[in-house]
Symmetry: D2
Subunit: 380 residues, 4 copies
């Protein structure tokens, strides 16, 4: 029998479910040296966390995350709570020598992130941030193609994350399910929530960014706050656009909004290289578009790769060619890689340190949006 | 705690995994009155079935399916073995009052199917056949739209199931992983394997077929047989095309092949009605194409529905709009419906009796392909 | 100045316009040894043909096609009238040593076609049938790829031509603009009108067909006839499906209908070969889909070729890469090829003899639909 | 017979052909009160302009544009020469009371454009700029939908024009066919050539822009100059990205490059409104994507409108539903509208004054790219 990796989960929302599913499922599809054991789930609401634990098979519950973090029978803490709580919990985990799997973004800002990186590295605990889209097989394939040098010199990197769920001005801000609209809990709006994903992928695929210029907009200026019951000023960015430069000389064009009618969760990126280009989008996540100029001229065209073959990244563990997997599988892959990273000593990415690079780009973006000027990205 | 539904699994191949995953996962996402308990897994190869049971958490193993079928602690038997074994096992299950979840096609032919239907109905045991594609949310949505009358009079039903994995003539027939190429184990080729899916969906969406005219082809006439080690005549159909009529007067055009280069598992259907049309394909199973002629003329067009909203069939149980699910989820939905059917007394479809209708169409298709004449479909 | 090719046009409808546009335009884009000169246009209705001639710049008009055919100043007659008039006019043309450019289908049936072929060959007059889709650049490119052997052994050829313009039962049959619904004028319904195109392309790309099995359907049994003013039985086929075999062993699956809601003129074909496959459709006629199994596995996918480069067939004569041409250009290409064929002595295809092959397949299809049996295609 | 509109053409390149084709063809498809008469074509190279005139049927040639502009038998001058010549010719046309049809962009910059606008308005001569994409039927349809208020409040306008034809550093700058790479002749790179189109459409569809922030890049710093024979510094922008605000409060994100491998001439735009969104791209110019949130939830999806119906803009003049037109038709439509504008007294847009608005946005974009700061767009 494989060795257990004892998990303590903090939170029970959307991400709590996504991660729990990954823990429950990963050993059915991947041969791993350890198996996640769901030891405890934690949240302030006793009834809700018990129901959650019952549904997913967590052995016990806690209502105080500090107690959970101190429990001897827990190896790893999964932080699935709003962004404003990440730092404090992570520091406590480090102090208690727990491994940490933290939801993205790492922190409210780069300053917080810096402290967290230092804490986990000083404590020597394995740490990872759930930028799950790296492990959509089509995205991982993109990384492989780039690493093989297929694209040549890169000229352009374009990314967008378009949603439309907050157009209705009657939608409140704050509280369960809506904390992403509350600047106090989320730190920022689409930039920390959505652009963070775009930036993480970009830094992974295309290297660091040196400088950015950004604008933000808040279309709906006031919303009722669910926690206070009052109509309050909205503090988050509803939309954010920025351009900039990567260290490799390529140009960045990034945009995110929750006001793009018709797009539910349309994360897209495109990379244009000297020899080849790549496109991907989350609405058809099992496909990768690839254009190679070296193909014979007469039959040159964008190739629509259905990333479901046994030799495509991760896909040998699933079904047969043509049968697609979905969103949730990216988390399964991340758990598999985390466990393999523990065994091999080569930590799964992105670690806190990797994720901090994204935080520093976000800092620069938000600062530029305020100042109206170009801002250099701090080096991690 | 919900009541267990004790499962005995026969087989450990592709479908054994797909069903086991569904059993393991269904209660995490659906609120159900019972939960599948993985009591035993059965296959002749002791080592393989132990490994399978270990991976999926089956409590015990058997190497003789007759013993499994007789075990008192088993409520339901899942038949995941080649087609030529379905009948014998199913009859034994009925005799032992076990519920049966049987892989498709139901039987080698209509004659076998008839005996099986009679046996389960006489025994009064719940029974179901794993025509999983009915429960891809986009396909279920198609059913809803048709049932609401949105399409009006139906003129055409077109379906194809195109693959390309047997083009290489060096591929052997027979044995583990390849029994679908062995007529002795499979009964037929693409017709029973692939067209069966197309027909099941069609009968569900568009009602019974009255008459068909078919042709088949075997492109590679001889292949090495893995069980005998000899090059032997290939008995299956590599491709099958048929046209015909449905009882509602609409025309059928069906085709399946394993020689369509570039298509991995491209199951597609299209229905053309007086007012509206629908298209779906398995390579992007989370989408449904819908055209409604009643839309305003200037903005009339095929609507590309990303079937991931909370009010789309089954989708409220998964993630949020825009985040797609995959192939394996259709099995989860089928288990959920099976359990709800047990509780409600309205059995989940397709039952053996429903699936027998597909078997009778297949009989007519294969008879027509032999005779070169139109053949009427027997009524179930 | 290039030498004139004096054209006499019979008809002024949709095809009269399409051909006139081709004549008017071809020398602006192609360097040719001759230029079409629009000498005369002919139709029974004096006012209409004068208006047509004025619009397009025909120098004169006739109201009796026999007079036109006898005119000394005419080199070539363009037959753009209903099918039931093709034979008589063509025979008169041959007798008067006129070149003939005849709309498709060549004739009402194979028997008529045979007489026409014999007449033009005996007279030694250049002759061509307007199967224009061969000269859509993407289709011509498909032909090139096949001729280069890129596909290898062919397994499947599938074609459909789907429309939806006759679903309304109030639409009358017969008379101007609607003669295609009148069996007396058209000879058949979708088979002669639409499948004829599919078959012509298929024979060109994939060689002759040996045998077919077909069904037809007339969904609306009676329509008001515009010429008699009475409700009369509809004699045409509203839909036609057939399967069969090509001489090269590949399987055919063809379908046409005017009852496919949502499809305006969706002519599609797909060819599956051992090594590669090709798809095309008329709704995006400037694109060709190409899949090559010999591509590296990881990046294998359907290539979406935007057939607008200078080295793509005919495209060097138009604009720059990325800028698409449309439907009408296929006729321009056909005129260019016809003129080049006159000069080179290698007649442009399809000649009457080539088009007769399509007529014989149609004969077999319609005979099979009547008899319910397989029918061998007569050799031309 | 309709009255002639006597055209004098200056230039014989790509645009000379596109416009000549429009003049030659427009009366075949549109009923108009005038018909373009090709009186004279002008260029410095005697042989080339004679060949051009011969091909297109211009009655005469000139080698000095000043003589052409002074000819009494010419009503309208078509300016199809590099941007640096627009102003001088246009001023001479105005002085000689000639109508002017000027290629885009109107001028090298806003200062030049201002003088030109004043000149034509003072002279009272009809004037128009060839921003042809407004008259692609799908784009015109977008305008209609917006004018009907279907989109509601606009949040986002996104446009890109991506090409890949200058990636090769061996490509020279300057001279015939390559003057667009020579800053002396073109004034700028992708901004004036490609973004100008994007901006013109945007201002037409979404109103004026108030402020922009831009970056540009020149990837290949030096190229051989064809006129001097020497390797010289490249003065144009190879890529340009800008964001900004429209007067209606919506956000702009624009980008253009000639270094996007795989894209030949991919002009795309997307507009996100409160109720509905629209997308279009030049590679499939006959289609418009439309999403309407007011559609019934279950069947809501992007509608793929095949803009080929008789009631779609301009399409009643062409073929039948399903049969697409191409790039060149946008020019035919513009000539038809120009002539109708002469007759009705409501001038066809964009006039010089309309086009000047685009020039002022371009000025602001280029100034911002230099300064690294937000720049307000001057009002025309």
């Amino acid at each position: 029998m494989t060795k257990p990796l004892n998990i303590g989960m903090i939170g029970y929302g959307f991400m709590g479910r996504a991660h729990s599913n990954a823990y429950a499922k990963v050993n059915h599809f991947f041969d791993l040296p350890m198996r996640p054991a769901l030891k405890a789930a934690c949240a302030r609401d006793t009834a809700k966390i018990k129901a959650f634990a019952d549904k997913w098979g967590y052995e016990s519950t806690e209502t105080d995350w500090r107690k959970l973090v101190e429990r001897k029978d827990i190896d790893a803490i999964d932080i699935c709570v709003p962004n404003n709580l990440h730092k404090e919990i992570a520091l406590a985990c480090a102090a208690n020598k727990k491994m940490i799997l933290c939801e993205k973004p790492l922190a409210m800002n780069g300053a917080e992130g810096k402290v967290m990186v230092e804490a986990v590295e000083k404590a020597g605990v394995p740490n990872m941030v759930w930028y799950n889209y790296r492990r959509v097989p089509a995205v991982t394939l993109a990384k492989q193609l780039i690493d093989e040098g297929k694209l040549g010199r890169i000229f352009h990197y374009r990314a967008k994350f378009l949603q439309d769920w907050t157009i209705n001005p009657e939608l409140p801000q704050g509280g369960t399910g809506l904390w992403r609209l509350d600047v106090g809990a989320a730190g920022s709006g689409v930039s920390g929530d959505l652009l963070a994903h775009c930036i993480d992928t970009a830094l992974w695929l295309n290297g660091d960014m040196s400088t950015v210029s950004a604008m933000t907009e808040t279309f709906v200026k006031e919303r009722k706050h669910n926690l206070t019951g009052k109509v309050e000023k909205v503090g988050i960015d509803d939309a954010c656009i920025f351009y900039g430069r990567f260290d490799n000389g390529s140009l960045a064009n990034f945009e995110s909004t929750r006001y793009a009618r018709g797009h539910k969760a349309l994360y897209t990126f495109e990379i244009n290289g000297e020899h080849a280009s790549i496109c991907w989008d989350l609405h058809d996540l099992h496909r990768l578009q690839y254009f190679d100029h070296r193909d014979q001229g007469m039959t040159r065209g964008w190739r629509d790769i259905h990333v479901t073959d046994g030799d495509h990244p991760y896909m040998g563990n699933w079904w047969v060619p043509g049968l697609q997997i979905g969103y949730e599988h990216s988390f399964v892959h991340q758990v598999a890689d985390f466990i393999n990273g523990l065994a091999s000593g080569k930590p799964a990415q992105p670690t806190f340190r990797d994720a901090q690079r994204t935080g520093l780009v976000l800092d620069a973006v938000l600062e530029s949006a305020k100042s109206g000027k170009w801002v250099n990205v701090q080096k991690a």
